[in-house]
């Protein structure tokens, strides 16, 4: 077990290193000079040199990378360029709770919807219901998030007045109010996840239902409900556990579109707005945090997977 965890950790470190190099180079690769973005067209050469020295741009790349990395490791992500100038860290810490809340609600909704659908669809393979699920899930995967979000806003929020839109109330402003604002964007995120979960669980269940022990259970006279939920679901849900773990990492940074449509102050909005204003340090910080969250969550998922499924452990151990 320890060998397996060490193996996974050994693998995560170079990945994190490469991600840090990539995000650092992001600023370096931007055409033009960051200094030009800060100073106006009428400034003197002396001012230019001064700002260049302030930003530390007159030193070699490797030195700058090292300094940047040691600051990042201490939790200092620098300050952004476009006013209001703040520390990048503060901005991201303010934004993260939004993403965490959306992710949790979306994941729970996705699982609650997909498990019964998948079980019933696998139980009645090739039935009308199964085919509807087949087409419906492809449709749900195919529909672009922004279209889905806009259509839902049009129907649920504007026409039926079920949910308020266009702002965000922090949990401190009342949990119930907060939930009312968070639910619709979470549903948008949940639909895509639910479709992927359903397809995966259905195909795994179909395989399990062909096993001999299911036949034996049926021969013993156990009810279909018992067989499906008690006997077949557990061994079929390994990949679902993995996938839902991975979608935590993916949703944290993958809710950009939903945030943008519903104007939520999450990390995705930060990245997009910073990108539109060419505010590189902010883009850099956002991308780095999102990537670290993803790598960490996939690391945890792999370790958990190794704990619950001994076959995985042995393959690498």
């Amino acid at each position: 077990m320890i060998r397996y965890i060490t193996f996974r950790l050994m693998f995560a470190i170079p990945v994190l290193f490469l991600v840090s190099v990539g995000t650092f180079l992001l600023v370096y690769l931007v055409p033009g000079n960051p200094v030009d973005h800060i100073i106006g067209p009428n400034s003197t050469h002396a001012q230019y040199l001064q700002i260049q020295r302030q930003l530390g741009l007159d030193r070699p790349v490797l030195v700058r990378y090292w300094e940047w990395l040691s600051k990042v490791l201490q939790g200092n992500l620098g300050i952004n360029l476009v006013p209001p100038v703040e520390s990048v860290r503060t901005r991201i810490i303010q934004a993260l709770p939004v993403n965490i809340e959306l992710t949790i609600i979306a994941l729970v909704l996705g699982l609650v919807v997909s498990i019964p659908l998948a079980v019933f669809s696998a139980y009645k393979e090739n039935s009308v219901f199964d085919r509807l699920i087949g087409v419906g899930t492809i449709a749900a995967i195919s529909i672009p998030t922004f279209l889905l979000a806009l259509v839902l806003v049009l129907l649920v929020a504007i026409d039926w007045h079920l949910f308020p839109i266009g702002q965000w109330v922090r949990p401190s402003g009342g949990w119930l109010t907060n939930l009312r604002y968070a639910l619709l964007p979470s549903i948008v995120l949940a639909i895509g996840e639910a479709a992927i979960f359903t397809r995966l669980l259905r195909s795994e269940l179909l395989e399990t239902l062909n096993e001999d022990y299911i036949l034996a259970a049926r021969a013993k006279g156990m009810s279909s409900l018992h067989i499906l939920f008690r006997e077949a679901l557990r061994p079929s849900s390994f990949s679902l556990v993995t996938l839902s773990g991975l979608s935590i990492g993916r949703l944290i940074g993958g809710s950009i579109i939903a945030e943008q449509v519903f104007s939520l102050p999450g990390i995705g909005s930060i990245i997009v707005n910073a990108a539109q204003q060419s505010d590189y340090p902010l883009v850099q910080g956002g991308v780095l945090v999102v990537a670290v969250v993803y790598v960490t969550s996939s690391l945890i998922v792999d370790v958990v997977h190794g704990v619950i499924d001994p076959r995985v452990r042995r393959r690498h151990g």
Partner: protein, 363 residues
């Protein structure tokens, strides 16, 4: 329970003569009713009527028409035909043809608002007018803009798929063949790229590249960006197909007959790996079209007045949503149908041509 299923299956797959001829006529009736329902819902019902009602009508009409076409075709062919698949192929072919010939088609103006001054803004779709799908906020023709927008989507995703396959397949195959250190390095590289969500990576790349103003620049910049984002998926596909194929008997036989390594790679593996990876091309293109759409929806892709599906929807914006839903729904429908068809056809291509069925999920 089992017996009823079998019975039902028998009836569906081996229908009697009477059923097929009745089915044709049922199909005609259903199609006509569905089209009529949609026409009423889109063109006749007053704009002030509630949107949910219209949506229900439109959807019911579409489902009915789709069923009708299915029954009609199956009835005429006297066997079960996967009509959905052929409708998807039809949509894709029609879209590509229209996008290619867009300059020759009798469209109203799609880009220059000064030429459309006499035309009303936000016209609702009316299939028998000069603006079959209506106009947008600048009185430009939505159909024409959607077709020109299709050019960007199709060219960008095609370029991205070609580039990522051209770069990814040799490297991925080599990783599988060489194994050891090289494989580990490639693995760590792909993992690092996959650890950033695709859209975030695209946005980061778009900050570097700047915002494209012309169609050619957009196709090139976004195409390269999307290729970078897809590269890890293609690498993994190529790697897993290669390692699967290399243990197949035909490679073993080839080796036993005295074939050199070069011959095995070029003659036995390359065509098979390429075919398997290419069978994913359509599914990849579907993902890429959504990604390109998202990028231009966020205002980081091709800039207006040049149309793309994404920037058309962003331009119509959430503020106009309740007043002029068509300005968003028309490009949205184009995009949805295209992505849906690509997924549908792509899944069939994948199960037909990929070695050993599907191995990696793309989404």
């Amino acid at each position: 329970m089992a017996s009823t299923t079998t019975l039902a299956e028998n009836v569906r797959t081996r229908p009697g003569l009477a059923w097929t001829s009745i089915r044709t006529w049922i199909g005609v009736a259903e199609t006509a009713l569905g089209v009529a329902l949609d026409y009423v819902a889109i063109s006749v019902i007053d704009r002030s009527e509630s949107a949910p009602l219209r949506v229900v009508f439109v959807l019911a009409g579409l489902v009915l028409a789709r069923r009708g076409i299915g029954d009609l075709v199956c009835g005429l062919a006297k066997r079960e035909v996967d009509v959905g698949l052929w409708l998807s192929v039809g949509w894709l072919v029609a879209l590509v043809v229209a996008a290619t010939l867009a300059g020759l088609l009798p469209f109203s103006d799609y880009i220059d608002p000064s030429k459309s001054l006499t035309v009303a803004q936000f016209m609702t779709p009316n299939l028998f007018s000069a603006h079959p799908l209506g106009t947008d906020g600048l009185s430009l023709d939505l159909l024409a803009r959607c077709v020109y927008g299709a050019r960007v989507s199709i060219l960008t995703s095609a370029l991205a798929v070609v580039l990522s396959v051209a770069v990814g397949v040799p490297i991925g195959a080599l990783a599988a063949l060489r194994g050891r250190a090289f494989d580990h390095v490639v693995n760590i590289l792909t993992d690092s790229m996959l650890s950033v969500p695709a859209l975030v990576l695209l946005i980061a790349l778009a900050t570097i590249a700047g915002r494209p103003k012309s169609v050619a620049a957009a196709v090139l910049e976004d195409g390269i960006g999307l290729a970078i984002v897809t590269l890890p998926t293609v690498l993994r596909l190529a790697r897993s197909f290669t390692s699967k194929l290399i243990s197949e008997e035909f490679v073993f036989v080839s080796r036993a007959l005295g074939a050199t390594n070069t011959r095995i790679v070029l003659h036995d593996l390359t065509p098979n790996v390429l075919l398997s990876v290419s069978s994913y091309a359509l599914v990849l293109a579907a993902v890429l079209i959504v990604a390109e759409g998202s990028l231009s929806f966020l205002g980081l892709g091709l800039q207006p007045p040049q149309p793309t599906w994404g920037n058309m929807m962003a331009q119509a914006g959430i503020s106009d949503l309740s007043l002029h839903p068509f300005a968003i729904l028309v490009p949205g429908t184009f995009m949805f149908l295209t992505v849906f068809s690509l997924n549908r056809v792509g899944e069939r291509a994948r199960s037909a041509f990929a070695a050993g069925g599907s191995v990696v999920s793309v989404t």
